[in-house]
Homo-oligomer: 287 residues x 2
Amino acid sequence: MDFTEETATEAVVASFAGTGDARLREVLESLVRHLHGFVREVEPSFAEWERAMEFLAATGRMCDGQRQEFILLSDVLGVTMLVDAVNHRKASAATESTVLGPFHMVSSPRRELGDSIDLVGTGQPCVVTGQVRSLDGGPLAGALVDVWQADDHGFYDVQQPGAQPAGNGRGLFTCDDDGRFWFRTVTPSPYPIPTDGPVGGLLQATGRHPYRPAHIHLIVAADGHQPVTTHAFVAGSPYLDSDAVFAVKQSLIREFTEVDDPGEAAAYGVDPPFRHASFDVVLQPGP
Amino acid sequence: MDFTEETATEAVVASFAGTGDARLREVLESLVRHLHGFVREVEPSFAEWERAMEFLAATGRMCDGQRQEFILLSDVLGVTMLVDAVNHRKASAATESTVLGPFHMVSSPRRELGDSIDLVGTGQPCVVTGQVRSLDGGPLAGALVDVWQADDHGFYDVQQPGAQPAGNGRGLFTCDDDGRFWFRTVTPSPYPIPTDGPVGGLLQATGRHPYRPAHIHLIVAADGHQPVTTHAFVAGSPYLDSDAVFAVKQSLIREFTEVDDPGEAAAYGVDPPFRHASFDVVLQPGP
């Protein structure tokens, strides 16, 4: 039987009948049905199909050890956050998750509670404090809090290997017996996702800006609980309503309050005025 | 409003509201709906999503001036042939189209009717003859017939730049006043699509072979008519029922008949025995 508009999808699905891995077969069948559905709906011309092939090849050419342009594409199409959503249908009291992002590519250096993750010293001083608890409200002593963030100019250390020391803006903290953590940093700033590749071209062609609102990344883990990958977003930051990667959740926005009290400043080892944000984390039970 | 399973798709679609090009907006909206539909259906784990991102990046890394692995991926998923189908809903008497394939990357050398496109001299001699006509049956004098094919070992000239002379297996012919063309070649052989990249891995994981049945590519064009990109498939070739790229149409299969008649052989300038295939082409009117 010929491969026609009518028979095309079933023919390709049938070609995967010999797939050994049942899950792979399921994924490919679904992929083919949706991909063919897309083609049937938009009926691309050959010229459009060729442009699509070129776009994908160009996206691939941007990928190397430091850059994964397909993840960026997944991000700006909301696919990454949708994958996150279907994987985290969690108890409502637990801290919500959001995207990992592409900058958690190096291990965060272990630091002591109260240490600064800012190794440069520019930018507005900021103190972040929080407590890690289980769903029943009990503190999770010894929970691990892995944090990373862009500097006050919107760049991660790995983006500026000459200008920033390795590990700048990163730290791995162990909570105290009361599940509490605290560290010093600089107030993060909004930043654009990389725009020098095909994804940047896509954003430009669609009139979308490339910015993410100011945030600090956190991965929080404790024994007997499911870890959470999340952000603390800075209240009032531009782009909270239009994050290029759709990662904002209202429950994750925090006031980064200006504090001018010399006593408080001294207690945290910073000069006033500084900003203070509190970000408690609630984990669900899990393996 | 948060980006959730419920709101995700409309949020991303809305982000394209400012797209200047109406067609681009239409394509992206459809893409997002189908892509999100795929994610909702298979609910990929993060590990699966990461493997998908790695597969796409690896596919991109295979692309260069001589290789377009995304086109190969489109081919083995039946997308290329589906795009072909929706673009060629033609009058039933017209010659059916099929895939262009990746090997029409160089211009075919102009040759005289009766010339051989085989510059090597191994393989079984073969004569291809045909007539180009319009839908009403009238011959199309001066029609252009661009042919290219793999050699008797299944390789195109561009795949073996040292071993095959440039232009081997290729020719651009101008039909005579009766719309007829004829040329000498070698009987083509089945061959595998390239398997050393991610697409080869996909075929292996799904138990699919990478072979295409033996065929000769043709693009036929005439003034006042729509050109057709097609193949002449060799009747009896292995893989006619399981072409890796789904390009076989029954109407395009031809007997490559063995001829042992010394007179016929002499008329075409070949030694007997040779094979003879007849492939008439009917074009639809068009710009």
